[in-house]
Amino acid sequence: MAPETLVWLIPVPPLLAFFLIVLFTNRSKWLSHTIAVLAALLSFAGSMWVFVQALQNEHLGESPIESIINWLPLGESWFQIGVLIDPLSAVTLFFVAWTVLMIFIYSVGYHNFGQPQGDHDVPGLPPHGASVVDEQGHKHRVLSIEPLYSRFFAFISLFAFGMYLLVVSNNLLTMFVGWEIMGLCSYLLIGFWFAKPSARAAAIKAFMTTRIGDVFMLLGIAFLYSATGTLNFRDILYNENVLLVLGETPSGFLGLSVAGLIGLLLFIGTVGKSAQFPLHVWLPDAMEGPTPVSAMIHAATMVSAGVYAILRMFPLITADFHGHEFTPLMIIIGTIGAFTALFASTIAVAQNDIKRVLAYSTISQLGYMVAAVGIGAYVAAAFHLVTHAFFKALLFLSSGSVIHGMEHGVLHTDNHHLDPQNMFNMGGLRKKMPVTFWTFLIGGFSLAGFPLVTAGFWSKDEILTDAFLHAPLVFWTLAGAALLTAFYTMRQITLTFLGEPRTPEAEHAHETPWTMILPLVVLSVFAIGFGWVGVPGGFPVLGHRLPEWFQEFVGETLLVAPELPAFNWIPLLASILVSIGGLSLGWLLYRNVKAGQSDPLQNALGSLYRVLQNKYYFDEIYQFLFVKPSIWISDVLVSEIIDRGIIDGFLHFLAYISGVIGNFFRNAIDNPVINGIGDFVGETTKRIGFAMRVIQTGKIQQYMVISLVIIFGALVYFISSVGLP
């Protein structure tokens, strides 16, 4: 099969799986997950084959795998869509395929396949466990299978379809289609346990917050389309003339060029999708969804899509950048990215929920990538995107494994008031869940950028080096964020796995089944190994002994391959220092936390700790500034005052006036005059008739008498007037 044809087919299996499960197999849990995993496997195989094809093409940047068809007839021409595999989409496809497949397999175990139905489980709520009686007649509480098991696999299949579609698209419009389908799935999956009001609220919040970004992005797409007449990536981004014109034409808005304004609109879409400040608020709440969802949304796919989008649009964003002075758009992107990186890591320090810490760390790491794009470090941003996807998927899945183990403990003690996600309820899980411990450790150290071994070190170091050389302010911000990252990561590892169990539930935690362990191990390999394919050539000792493959391969995507930063000792030392320093600090501060003891940081930070714990009160501020006014405008201003009050009031008034006029005609003209005359005529006639009635007796004799009288009278008159003859 030609590679182009295969690329078209990559997104198809998960979509088919979605429809098959929804329409036919939703009653069979086994069949549903088999179809879903099989579909993911097919897409995986297709992706790997395409990836290998892409690797063998030495000039993939110049002559990518592309295929185009006509889609919408518009005027005399067609709007075309198609698929494209260039270096950037090839590496994205690689990590998406791996993480998606791993998450599908993991979900089978996470949703307790093979366990009995729960005693009181209802669809729309997390399973609460089942009672079983073993051979000896002992009663046990065990985990129960998710009631909406099949539905879960349908949703994540659709989600995978959205991501594959986004990656293989050769144009912004179908990419946006994939982008929004993921948005829908994230809504459905965050609200998977929809009967919980908190999950329902989180789902709506996620959808609406990202939609703010999306409507701007839609404008950006419309703008780009009308400015260039196409949305094809290659025609715009690999075309010097188009970029030159877009970069030089002023847009008349904030001093931005047309390219700058389009880039800004598209970037706002990324701010929403990748949860950058100030649209970051949805992502931590999205933790309401089941853990594989968090890994899908917060690592492998959706949030990566935002960064992928600005990496795609990088030539447009930098169209008027000539290598010296940052353009206004780049300054905006860099500032937001760097600020978000630091800002989110300060919040992560004071969170106690194991998944929330990871959520904030995701926001922070995405900030790194965005900042890297802002300072023009294209390759470094792409590198961090890939490594982060691996180690963050690993961390989320490991944390899911931890929660799963804790839930085991909760069932054992039957204490349902205990929060199995609170790290202060854990401790000592290293011995109970050894594999999970090691994989979490690998993921955590990669996140913290532990020197040399981990993938996170290499990608983060590359961003820091570039920032140090071109934007010192960004460098110091990111270095500060890296220190905090290492600190809260070690805080998490220490509180969760080290020391002694702080609750009976942690005492009875249990290692998870193989379907969950296997993905963790596979992802661990990438969380370490993927860094070694991108070691800078100038790196002491290791440079040129390990491949610098990633930089060379991905750099090809651009028309002019980007210059890689020269090696510099200062950022490297800083990188090592903050990583080791943060990790040690975290361990020192938290190694002796006892059961019931408060966070040692609380004493150190005082009231600032409360502010951090409450995420700088952003939810409350937004509620006051945006949500409440919108509700007021809708409920009161538009519905009541304008529509019912003013417009309907005016109509009712018109109707009333018509009624008054009508009544006037009725009461002043119709009734007295016209009816009056009519009535008068009738009444008079009636009266005359009434008066005449006395002679209408019906007696012949009387009539005869009257006739006689009249005849006699007439005779008398006649005789008297004429005279007798």
């Binding site: 518009l74 929809f194 329902r200 417009i647």
Partner: protein, 529 residues
């Protein structure tokens, strides 16, 4: 097939009315006779329309399958029918939605015969508007459609609810809504009738094809009333047309009849009201206003775009502010139809501005017509689904539902699907038309388009609000055991709509191609330079 081909449009047009006459002479019982009879009758125009669709030559500009016969010789009015890509699309929408609405009406138990008879007459009325190429015939059908709808709302509308009028008088809600619908529309078409008379008398013909050639370039009018300048006369006539159609669409601030009429109408009535009757407005703009008044359209395009944006934004806010599920859906129509008018206004402006790329206007018009079709599908679907839940719970109050998803999973899935189509989710039909409108309008009215995005944002808010209250959250225990799943008949109503929503979202070329041909021709004819 010669005979059928020659009179195909008349056959499509009058089959429902003839069928209705047959039903009139049948006994009232059994009721199933009238249900199935009406359904079968309404399937005939659908089959004929499908045949027409394949016979229609999309490469030719202008009208096809024309029929002409003198109707009223003294005033030069003739029975002239014809279809182009625009009317064909609308006819397809009408003949598709009518059988589905009749199938949805099988749950009507009260006076089935007159209900079905009125419904079939309604179909003829609507089809007549889309097929007529004579202004007077157009107007006749335009008004004929009102009468059955008035009775459908007035007699079969919801039985509960009251509205308070000026001065504290209380009237039954369905009486209020039906009168508001009737009087409001009649009032606006009064101006339309006068303007049509003016055109007819001045130009000496009511034939639309000829008028489009004569009227726009007419600079001297012989019998000028009040000795007004020609441009003023034309402006007045233009606004008479615009107000009539704007009210029908409806454009803010002429929209308040809509939530009342849609909410109080029986389910199938709402489906047709939202699905087809609103399109008469958009169709009127495209068939009459733009071709007859290119100069005035260009002149006042900004004002029209402003009102369209107001409809988009206030429609969305209005929907978000409702507590009644059906009212929420009704307001969503205002929001969605705003995009139709925005596209039309943008094209009208482009027609007078040589510096604007005609492609932009073409895209905006394609989007507007496609949006009419798409909204027909999704709004009819949404009203039907509201009807399904209402028949089971006898409440439309969002607060009374709650967490029904586990009880009615299939209904829930269908509701989410349809709501997402209404929201404009990419991959489903609404997105493509909205994108095309935004794309076309952005190049012409960037500020209006940007502001309209606020409406698009709140589209999400109200759709999610509906889903939130009906399906999600803690289960309202009082419905346990009292709520049955969507039944087979109901699935037969919604399934064709869902298939089309998905199909048009993925591969709209078959429909868009027909629309595109008509819109390209329309714009070329319309351009002032």
């Amino acid at each position: 097939m010669g005979l059928i081909d020659n009179y195909l449009l008349s056959l499509i047009l009058f089959t429902p009315a003839l069928g209705a006459l047959v039903l009139v002479f049948l006994p009232s019982e059994p009721r199933s006779l009238h249900r199935w009879g009406a359904l079968l009758i309404s399937l005939i125009p659908l089959a004929l329309t499908v045949y027409l669709w394949f016979q229609f030559d999309r490469s030719l500009p202008g009208f096809q399958f024309e029929e002409s016969a003198i109707w009223y010789e003294a005033i030069q009015s003739s029975y002239h029918l014809g279809v182009d890509g625009l009317s064909l699309t609308m006819v397809l929408l009408t003949t598709l939605l009518t059988p589905l609405s009749i199938l949805a009406s099988f749950s009507i138990q009260d006076r089935v015969k007159p209900y079905m008879v009125l419904f079939l007459f309604l179909e003829t009325g609507m089809l007549g508007v889309f097929l007529a190429l004579d202004l007077l015939i157009f107007f006749v059908f335009y008004e004929v459609g009102l009468v059955p709808m008035f009775f459908l709302i007035n007699q079969w509308g919801s039985e509960y609810g009251e509205r308070t009028l000026f001065g504290g008088v209380k009237v039954q809600a369905r009486t209020y809504a039906s009168f508001k619908f009737m009087i409001y529309t009649m009032g606006a078409s009064l101006g339309l009738l006068l303007a049509i008379q003016l055109i007819g008398v001045t130009a000496g013909t009511y034939d639309l094809v000829r008028l489009v050639e004569i009227w726009p370039s007419l600079t001297v009018i012989e019998q000028v009333p009040l000795a007004l300048p020609v441009s003023t006369i034309k402006s007045i006539a233009f606004w008479a047309f615009v107000v009539a159609f704007a009210l029908k669409v409806p454009v803010w601030p002429f929209h308040t009849w809509l939530p009342d009429a849609h909410t109080e109408a029986p389910t199938a009535g709402s489906m047709i009201l939202a699905g087809v009757l609103l399109k008469l407005g958009g169709y009127g703009f495209l068939r009459l206003v733009l071709p007859l008044y290119p100069t005035e359209s260009y002149q006042f395009a900004g004002a029209l775009a402003f009102l369209a944006v107001m409809a988009i934004i206030f429609g969305a806010f209005g929907a978000f502010g409702q507590k009644d599920f059906k009212r929420l859906v009704a307001y969503s129509s205002i929001n969605h139809m705003g995009f139709v008018v925005l596209g039309i206004a943008a094209a009208a402006f482009a027609a007078g501005s040589p510096q604007i790329d005609p492609l932009d206007a073409n895209i905006a018009l394609n989007g507007a017509v496609l949006q009419m079709f798409n909204h027909g599908l999704s709004a009819a679907g949404m009203f039907f689904l509201v009807g399904v839940i209402y028949e089971r719970t006898h409440t439309r109050n969002l607060e009374d539902y709650g967490g029904l998803f586990p009880l009615i999973p299939a209904y829930g899935g269908i509701l989410i699907f349809t709501a997402m189509a209404s929201l404009g989710l990419p991959g489903l039909n609404g997105f493509i038309s909205e994108f095309l409108v935004v794309r076309g309008a952005w190049a012409i009215f960037p500020v209006f388009t940007a502001v309209a995005m606020l409406g698009l944002l709140f589209t999400g808010a109200y759709v999610l609000k509906g889903i939130k209250h009906v399906l999600q959250g803690p289960l309202n225990e009082k419905w346990v055991g009292h709520l049955s799943e969507i039944n087979t008949r109901e699935i037969f109503v919604i399934a064709p709509l869902m298939v089309l929503m998905l199909q048009l979202g993925v591969w709209p070329a078959w429909l868009l191609d027909v629309i595109n041909g008509a819109m390209t021709a329309l714009f070329q004819m319309n351009a002032l330079f």
